[in-house]
Subunit: 487 residues, 2 copies
């Protein structure tokens, strides 16, 4: 056994030397501190040491490394900004792996302002891509908390969403072209930027959301949108969760689909934010049981026209609608931001929620989604059931697309460790299944939800995924142990 292991280590040394041959010494990291740093993501919950961290600078170098790994039977763990929440971007114990960091593939290859597309490499930080679009007078609308450090490849591999999916779609819907290295080292060049292309199976969409288990996305083409000229930002108290759908539809119709942000912020979430951050004031005088934070935007010149009363037309439209909804009893109270500062305060409140929950004590977070029609049933049922078991749900969510970040904390005076978390979790998953919901909306599966995949995903779908995985990656070298249960 010892000899066998020694010889494996010898083979691994030769393998690392081959990587150095391809990339040069500077881009094959083997220092213990580098291995440890890259071997864990920011959650700190999952970590394992790779044989090396390799940093290819071109698609050809990625392909060469993947071929080396295929020949040697070494696993490839593609890694971006390490902001994942599910352990998808780090190795697993017991599997000889390299981490293939995309951080040097950070070029914005092209921006076509006429066609409104942008071609970026996988290692471009999301915020840099957003900024470049702004510099060209356009918007790359993918927006979420990790944007300052997450990278494009990771955003595509998890089909990231965020707060304005309701208007612009997820990473998948923004992507109209892809370049990727498959597990055999072959390269797919499909950076076409075509709006219509039906020439065979949709390989782009099978790679997006695959968490690196079917290949390494090296670059992509994205649609860009016109910059909004004017916004209206508001916080509402709505009569019920069910009634929020009425608010959403009426607002969409009144503004021509202008809703960019439509966030559920119920009373307990607002209260914990204001408790942890005392300088944040509740937006309404009376606490809103069903609070909604929303933003509408328009790139139309006529929407930015100043009306006689000093407000711009888009805001007038929103205001008129809110008055109607209040007369109907659908909306109970509302405030519209009257200045950039008021808008910034509302945004700060929304963006403080995760930190507030974390500060407040132990918690368990679910990233789930439901058909819009079923959201209220889930929330109403679970809130009661969780409270009966001693939990205080602290929920927010991208309600416009049915995505809830449903966090469970201990109710006042209850000890977290004594609460029946498994039981409430099981109740939530059972209810999700019954209501056609999803147990993973936008954070992915990685390692952390493989058990839920096994338990909840339909057998026929798991079998089909396994068949596709085996077909494209017969050696199971691409990010093994993530996303698809292979046993």
């Amino acid at each position: 056994m010892v000899n066998g292991l020694e010889s494996l280590r010898g083979g691994q040394g030769a393998f690392v030397a081959e990587c150095v041959n391809v990339l040069g010494e500077a881009h094959v990291l083997t220092d213990a501190s580098d291995l440890a740093a890259h071997g864990k993501d920011w959650t700190g919950r999952y970590s394992a040491l790779p044989l090396a961290v390799v940093r290819p600078g071109t698609t050809e170098e990625v392909a060469a490394i993947v071929r080396l790994c295929a020949d040697a039977g070494i696993a490839v763990v593609p890694q971006g900004g390490r902001t994942g929440l599910c352990g998808g971007g780090v190795p697993i114990e017991g599997q000889p792996s390299i981490i293939l960091s995309l951080q040097r593939m950070n070029r914005i290859r092209a921006v076509d302002a006429d066609a409104r597309t942008m071609t970026v490499e996988a290692g471009v930080v999301l915020e840099a891509a957003q900024q470049r679009a702004l510099d060209e007078g356009l918007v790359f609308p993918l927006t979420f908390g990790a944007q300052g450090s997450c990278m494009i490849g990771g955003a595509l591999s998890t089909n990231a969403g965020g707060s304005n999916v309701v208007r612009y779609g997820t990473a998948r819907e923004l992507c109209i072209g892809i370049e990727a290295v498959l597990p055999d080292g072959s390269v797919i060049n499909a950076l076409t930027g075509l709006r219509k292309d039906n020439t065979g199976y949709d390989l782009r969409d099978i790679l997006i959301g695959a968490e690196g288990t079917l290949g390494v996305i090296t670059a992509a083409v994205f649609k860009l949108s016109p910059q909004p000229l004017v916004r209206a930002t508001a916080f509402l108290s709505v009569s019920s969760v069910k009634a929020t759908v009425e608010v959403l539809n009426r607002l969409q119709d009144r503004t021509g689909g202008g809703v960019e942000v439509f966030e559920y912020m119920p009373r307990p979430a607002v209260e914990v934010i204001c408790r942890i951050f005392p300088d944040i004031r509740p937006p309404l005088d009376e606490p809103a049981e069903t609070g909604l934070f929303l933003e509408v935007a328009s790139s139309r010149k006529d929407d930015a026209v100043l009306e006689d009363d000093g407000s711009v037309r888009l805001q007038t439209q929103v205001l008129e609608l809110l008055q109607e909804l209040m007369e109907e009893g659908v909306v109970l109270d509302a405030m519209i931001a009257q200045s950039d500062q008021q808008r910034a305060e509302l945004w700060r409140m929304r963006e403080s929620i995760l930190e507030a929950i974390t500060e407040a004590g132990p918690s368990y977070h679910m990233d789930i989604s439901l058909p819009l029609a079923n959201v209220s049933r889930f929330v109403d049922t679970m809130d009661v059931a969780a409270a009966e078991l001693g939990f205080q749900p602290l929920t927010v969510g991208h309600l416009g697309d049915g995505n809830l970040h449903y966090a469970l904390t201990a109710a006042d005076g209850r000890d977290w460790d004594s609460l029946p978390l498994d039981r409430v979790r099981q109740m939530a998953f059972d209810l999700l299944l019954e209501l056609n919901g999803s147990f993973s909306a936008e954070h992915g599966i990685g390692q952390s939800k493989l058990d839920v995949m096994r338990a909840l995903k339909e057998d026929a779908q798991i079998s089909a995924m396994q068949a596709i995985k085996r077909a494209l990656d017969p050696q199971n070298i691409m990010n093994p142990g993530k996303l698809v249960p292979m046993d």
Copy 2:
């Protein structure tokens, strides 16, 4: 040999009897006239006789039939409205096949007006789905020529597009849930209607556009849109094909993404329409070398407000922009429909093009797409090259999404049969490849473009498709001989 064939026929008789067992005699057609009718599509170019035409009425019956076929090694050819243009919905010679007609699966299972979704079975005729959405005060926006007889399953299996993809996307982008029977007879139940769901590989998108080669789509959930309250319809003469992108972007910005239709109608196309249909008048006094037919729509109440000058606000916005574009020399001339009748006349002109080309004489049609930035280079280069070889291009296209229907006819006085079609076709494909274009935008591959797939599609992509096909359909029983070259 004769004995072997006889025994195969005997086995096939037993197989058909098993189908009757599952579906009843009324739904297993074996009359020669039925086999012949279902054995060809409306192009008449591709036909072969099936052993039987089976018409399951439920997903369970589809699954039972597919299992029978898997056991017997009989090919399954899913069939909808037989409106395909590429021979994808009929059997191929020499392969014992059944046609699995979805025509009895024609229920609209649910419409959720609040969530703005509709769940329909594969055999629902597109126009019936559109009508049902209208009845609910909403729009199912997928729109194209065959809508009166094509079925939802076929529209998804070819990822159909049409004239308003520029606003609403293709069939793929409208679909947010799917139910399908896989080649082993297992059923995927994913009619969730979720906007965000990341729980494994994107099986929905691999089935959409697969032309029935990976399974039978039996039902789907679609997004619905609000009904437009007001439209503006216009015909423009633009200074160049390149300048049309400027028109598109400015129009999108001015109307908040309101462009529903953006069609390229150059002078030769308009001329042939007016020649074949003498009651259709050219929309502008001076012929437009680069003609554009466009329509903008809005569901915003304030866009439908009557202005002081008697026009509605949306039309005022469009008119103002057109005046600016004319002052800049981007648009040379323009007419805006002032009545429903004028609008109907413009639409009739657009919809007459295929019939006009067909009437005018022999022709060859290409369904291609290009990045918006490259459309003008393709058109300008090919028009000159084709004219030099004796062709008259008669092109129209969904220019807003880079999709051209590029038809070649004989120039005046030239004999079609003597023209070098292969040469000009090869030139077009070479140019497409150079310009990152697609040789199949929205009609699919079927049988008719398998040779082009072999010649033009990247090897790595063909290999990946073959691997996926073999993984999910190891017996190659699902619509063999279509879409993916397996040899």
